[in-house]
Amino acid sequence: MRFAAAVLLAALSLSVRAKETVRMAFVGPLTGGNSAIGLGGRNSADLAVRLRNAEGKSKHQYELVVMDDECKPDAGVQMATKAGSDRTIVAGVTHYCSVVAMATVDTYHRFGLPVIVWGAVLPDITYANDFKEVHRVNGTMINQNDTNAKFMAEHGFRKVAVIHDTTDYGKGHNKYFSQFFQKAGGQIVATFGVTADQQDFTAELTQIKAQNPEALYFGGLTPIGVRIRAQMDKLGLKAQFDGTSGIVNDDFIKALGPLAEGALAFREGAPAEKLPGGRKFLEDYTKQGYSNPPEAYGPFAYAAAELLMDVIDKVGPDRKKIIKELANVKDRDSIVGKITFDDHGQNTVPAITRYVVQDGKWLTWEESEYAAGKRKLTSGK
């Protein structure tokens, strides 16, 4: 009897020990001006891992190795090298900032580390090279700017001024928006490239004000977006503020207060609560008691981590096999909708969601009072 118990115990402990620990990297901006989104992404990826481990069905015990790219290319490459050279790390959920994602693709390729980008929107990240390691679950800025330009044209905006940051990210936004907006019959009255850490925009805005545009398109991230919107008010520049996915987060509203009202932005995918399984995601997220919200790109980080774990469960923790299996991802269900990777590892995602700030919250255009006609966008006149 005693012997039988001992055997049973040994067998049990063996089955527990047999669970091999598999490590995945999460890389995103955890400090600096874009850290709200980075922390939301990290928590979401962490949530996916925790749920998988708690479920207990997997052969593996997953561990998320969290790294901070500070939204800076040099720090990003450092982290990518760290993750790539650590052979115990088999895959990565990587980057929100496009400049960083762009700077690191070579590194991942060199080390053969399969990664899924969870937030960066620059098309070149997947399309400029033919790296089998690099994938992306979210859409690119091409789609969002197409929708943005059409929306502006449909709502009667004819003259638009552009401010973009001079990183690849901002330049890409400028390129695609200007192209689509002119095609839709609009006119770009002025274009300004600014540095990503600029403080004073009064000179640019004064020049824009003299052109009397109906809207100001901003291609960049939250910190300078906040400054530009605030300084527009200081100069009495009354034009509709039209942003990109880079400003869809709570920090933008927190830093601006009432001035954020009516700001527009466009983003791939749908808000979490409207996604298939999104409600459950939010419930689980709340249960874990994270101190930051998942933010706009959390669901993508969650979906990327889920997808990687599915693949690893199937083919085992081997970088080469994972890359091979990721190439076959087609019509796979996830909380951000069906995922299908094209031959560049790019998810051919669907819908773009239109956002507007109403009473201190990002609402989808459809549910806002702006769409209902109860409130009006700024016309600039």
Partner: protein, 306 residues
């Protein structure tokens, strides 16, 4: 370009120039009394703005709503903190290495600034994010054609001008100013005349840093935003302005500050390339001017400092 647009540029440039001048005056004061460059000065500016923000946060949490009281508290807290900080920098960083090569002072203050900046980022709650700075001045203004003249900008400009005039008066009209000028001219002789050298140095650092606090608060009120790294570029620009005007000369610092702001505005507005290059342009011109006039625009023609 219409007159109203030009007026707007002048106003924008004047606000920038005033902030730069206030920072540059600090550099020039420190150089005057000790012949040193205090490279953490820009971060002292940021610390001043954050000290003001702290006072505002605490008081609003305690239920104070009057903008006047809040503004006063913001200014007093900013000035007090930076004056102490400035004196501490002098006492614990600069004076101990006095007599060592100039390079050492430059290095220790540069590092001191980095420590200060990182402290703001790490220890101020949410310090790594840009922080909303309250608008405590009346936001109304007048539209004159396309020119939007804001009441708060006028107040900020006027108070900046008063501060600089006040500093000038202190230096030229008071016993303290006399002592500062004496130390600036010849430390040894000043000592033999019975001037307490250490005290003069500490007071000068407190004074220069208090001016930086005003620059920080003006910056916060103007942009309604402060950031832990805001002092970095402000420090470099203030230093360049002080050099440009002629280091050690109060008027030079003011001229340098406004000149730099003018260059930046021209760089952003009148030149054919992207406005992202305005700093490149402004600093480029500074280099050129330095080559033409190595001692600054108002250099040491008479070798009297401060």
């Amino acid at each position: 370009m219409s007159a109203s647009v030009i007026a707007q540029y002048v106003m924008n440039g004047a606000m920038l120039g005033m902030m730069y001048a206030l920072v540059a005056v600090g550099f020039t004061l420190f150089f005057g009394v000790l012949d040193i460059i205090q490279f953490s000065h820009g971060d002292v500016v940021a610390a001043g703005a954050f000290a003001g923000l702290t006072a505002w946060t605490l008081l609003t949490a305690a239920g104070v709503v009057s903008p006047g009281v809040l503004l006063l508290a913001v200014v007093i807290s900013a000035v007090a903190v930076t004056a102490l900080l400035g004196a501490a920098v002098a006492r614990f960083i600069v004076l101990p290495v006095k007599g060592a090569p100039q390079l050492n002072v430059l290095l220790v203050t540069l590092m001191g600034g980095t420590v200060l900046r990182e402290c703001l980022r790490l220890f101020y709650p949410g310090g790594s994010q840009p922080k909303l700075f309250p608008a405590l001045l009346p936001a109304s203004g007048w539209d004159i054609g396309g020119f939007h003249l804001r009441f708060d900008n006028v107040i900020l400009l006027a108070s900046g001008a008063l501060l600089i005039a006040g500093t000038h008066a202190v230096i030229t009209r008071t016993r303290l100013g006399l002592a500062i000028r004496a130390v600036a001219q010849d430390e040894e002789t000043a000592r033999t005349m019975g001037i307490d050298f250490r005290r003069v140095v500490l007071v000068t650092f407190a004074l220069g840093s208090a001016l930086a606090a005003f620059a920080g608060v003006i910056d916060g009120l103007y942009y309604n935003e402060v950031f832990f790294g805001m002092g970095l570029l402000l420090g470099v620009i203030g230093f360049a302005a002080a050099i440009l005007g002629g280091l050690g000369n109060l008027y030079g610092a003011i001229v340098g500050g406004f000149l730099f702001a003018t260059l930046q505005t021209i760089g952003a507005v009148a030149l054919p390339f992207a406005s992202a290059y305005k700093d490149v342009f402004a600093f480029g011109v500074v280099i050129l001017l330095m080559a033409i006039r190595p001692t600054g625009l108002i250099g040491e023609r008479e070798s009297e400092r401060v």
